[in-house]
C-alpha cells in the first residue's frame, strides 16, 4: 500500500473539509440528536431508584459513550459512494494509481477528525450536567479498543458493499434508509440491547447492527460478563469477515457492470 499518497489524500480531504466545518458540524449535530433524546428519556424514566439494572447515571454514561462510538464508527461513505457511481465521479477515482477504497478510507479519517472536534466538547458538557456513573475497569478499557476498531471496520465495509449496489440499481439508497432504521432499533440507540423486548433482542444479537455500535459501548461500560464478551467478539468477527467478502464480491462484479456515466 502506498503510504505517502494515502496520507496526502487524508490531508487534502481534511483541509478542504475544515474549510466547510460549519456544514459538517451541523451534520454531526443531527446525528447526535436521536441518541441524545433516548438518553434524556431513559434518564428521566430511571428516576432516583433506577430501571432494569441501570441507574440514572449509568444511562447517562452508556449514552454518552454511545454518542462518541456512533460518531467514530459512522460510515459516511455509505451515502457518498452511491452518489459518486450515479453521477460518474467514480471515473476519476478509478483512474488514480491507488485502490479506490483508499479514497473512502481517507474520507473516514478526515471526516472523523472534523466531527470529533464538534462532538467531544458537547459530550464533556453533557457529562458535567448529567453526572454519568460507570464501573470502569482497566481490562474493559483494553478490550474496548479492538471492539471499537472492529465495529468501525464492520460498519465501513457493510456500508460500502451496500453503497456499491448503486452499480446496478439507481434507487439503492432505499436499502440504506432501511439499514438506518435497523441501526436505530437494534444497535442500542433506542434502548440498550438488554432492555429490548424478546424478539427484538434476539434479532439485535444475531444481526450485525449491535456489533457496529452497541457492543463496544457495552464492553467499556462493563455490562458484559466473560461468556457475553466472547460471543460478542465472535459475532463481530464473523460479520466483519462476511462484510469484507461481500465487499470483494460486489466490487469485482460491479466494476465489470459499471458504464461510467458522465465525465
Amino acid at each position: 500500500m502506498n503510504l505517502r499518497s494515502s496520507w496526502a489524500l487524508v490531508k487534502g480531504l481534511w483541509l478542504s473539509w475544515l474549510q466547510y466545518r460549519s456544514f459538517f458540524f451541523i451534520l454531526a449535530f443531527g446525528w447526535m440528536i436521536p441518541p441524545l433524546i433516548y438518553m434524556l428519556v431513559w434518564y428521566t424514566a430511571a428516576g432516583d431508584q433506577g430501571l432494569a439494572g441501570f441507574t440514572r447515571g449509568e444511562f447517562a454514561a452508556y449514552y454518552l459513550v454511545l454518542i462518541l462510538v456512533n460518531q467514530i464508527t459512522f460510515a459516511q461513505t455509505n451515502w457518498t459512494v452511491g452518489d459518486m457511481i450515479r453521477t460518474g465521479q467514480m471515473n476519476q477515482i478509478l483512474l488514480r494509481p491507488i485502490h479506490p477504497i483508499m479514497d473512502a478510507v481517507a474520507a473516514e479519517f478526515a471526516g472523523k477528525l472534523v466531527y470529533l472536534i464538534f462532538d467531544v466538547p458537547i459530550v464533556a458538557l453533557l457529562a458535567l450536567l448529567l453526572q454519568p456513573q460507570m464501573d470502569f475497569q482497566a481490562l474493559n478499557g483494553l478490550l474496548f479498543i479492538p471492539a471499537l476498531l472492529m465495529a468501525w471496520a464492520l460498519r465501513f465495509f457493510w456500508g460500502y458493499w451496500l453503497a456499491l449496489l448503486a452499480f446496478w440499481a439507481t434507487r439503492a439508497d432505499a436499502l440504506l434508509t432501511l439499514q438506518d432504521t435497523l441501526m436505530f432499533l437494534l444497535a442500542g440507540q433506542v434502548a440498550p440491547v438488554a432492555l429490548l423486548p424478546g424478539a427484538l433482542q434476539t434479532a439485535a444479537i444475531v444481526l450485525p447492527f449491535r456489533s457496529m455500535v452497541a457492543f463496544p459501548v457495552e464492553v467499556l461500560t462493563g455490562r458484559l460478563n466473560g461468556t457475553d464478551l466472547l460471543t460478542g467478539f465472535a459475532i463481530q468477527a464473523a460479520w466483519l469477515a462476511a462484510a469484507v467478502i461481500l465487499y470483494r464480491l460486489v466490487w469485482t462484479r460491479g466494476l465489470r457492470h459499471y458504464a461510467a456515466i458522465g465525465g
Binding site: M32, L40, T44, L51, R171, A174, L178, V190
Partner: protein
Amino acid sequence: MRALKLVGCFIRTSLQEEAAYRANFWISLFYSVLNLGSGVLGIVVLFGQVESVQGWTLPSTLALLGVYLCVTALRGLFIGPGLDSLAGMDGEIWSGTFDFTLLRPVNTQLLVSVRKWRLFSLADLLMAAAVLVTAVMMLGVTLTAWQVAAFILTLLAAVLILYAFLLAFAALVFWSPGVMFTWVFDGLFQLARYPMGMYPGWLQLVLTWVIPVGLITTVPAQALTGTISWAALAVSLGAALILVAAASILFRIGLRRYASASS
C-alpha cells in the same frame, strides 16, 4: 379569492410533476412506513420497561407521536417544499433565480409558502390520523366537544408556529447564504417526538421559551388526552400569532437585503 385560485393551480401542477415519477411513490411509502414503525417501536420499547414517565403513559405518548407525525406531514405537504426551494441547498437565493420569483405580481411570502406541494404527504397525514385514533381508543375515553375543539385549535397553532420558525430560518439565509439554519432546527425539532416532561428542567426551559417545540406537540397531545387549561390554549394561540407576525417582518427585512446573484 385570487390566492385560493393560485393555490389550486399550484396543487395541480405539483400533482402533474409528481405523477411523472410513479416508482417514487413506492419508495416514499417505504420511507414513511419505516419512520412510523421506528417511532411506534421506540415508544413500545420504553413502556415495556416502565408503566409511566412523569405522568405520560403508552397511549398518551402515542397520541403525542400522532401529533408529531401530523405536524411533520403538513410541513411536508406544502411549507417545507416551498421554503426549501427558496433557501435550501442550491435554493433560489443561492443561485439567483429568486429574481424571477420576485418579478411575479403576487405577494412574495405567499408565493414561496404555497407554490410547491408534495401530495404524497397526504399518505403521511393518513398514517398520523391512524396513530391518533389508535391512541384515543387505547385511552378508552370518550372525547368531549371541548377536547376536540381544543385539540384542533392547538394543532392549528402548532402548524403556525412551525411555519413561523421555518419562514424565519429561511429569511436568515438572506444574511448568510449557504448556512443550513433549517437543518439545525430540524435537529432540535426531533425532540418534539417525546413530551416535554420527559426532559430535564434546563432543556424544558429552552424548549418552551427559546424554540417552543413544547407548544408544537406536547400541548395538542395534552388537549386530546386530558384537559388543558384556558391559559395554555391562549398562550398557544397567542404565541402562534406573534411568531407568524415576527417571522413575516423578518422575511420582509430580509427581502430588502437580497441583491441577486449571478444569473
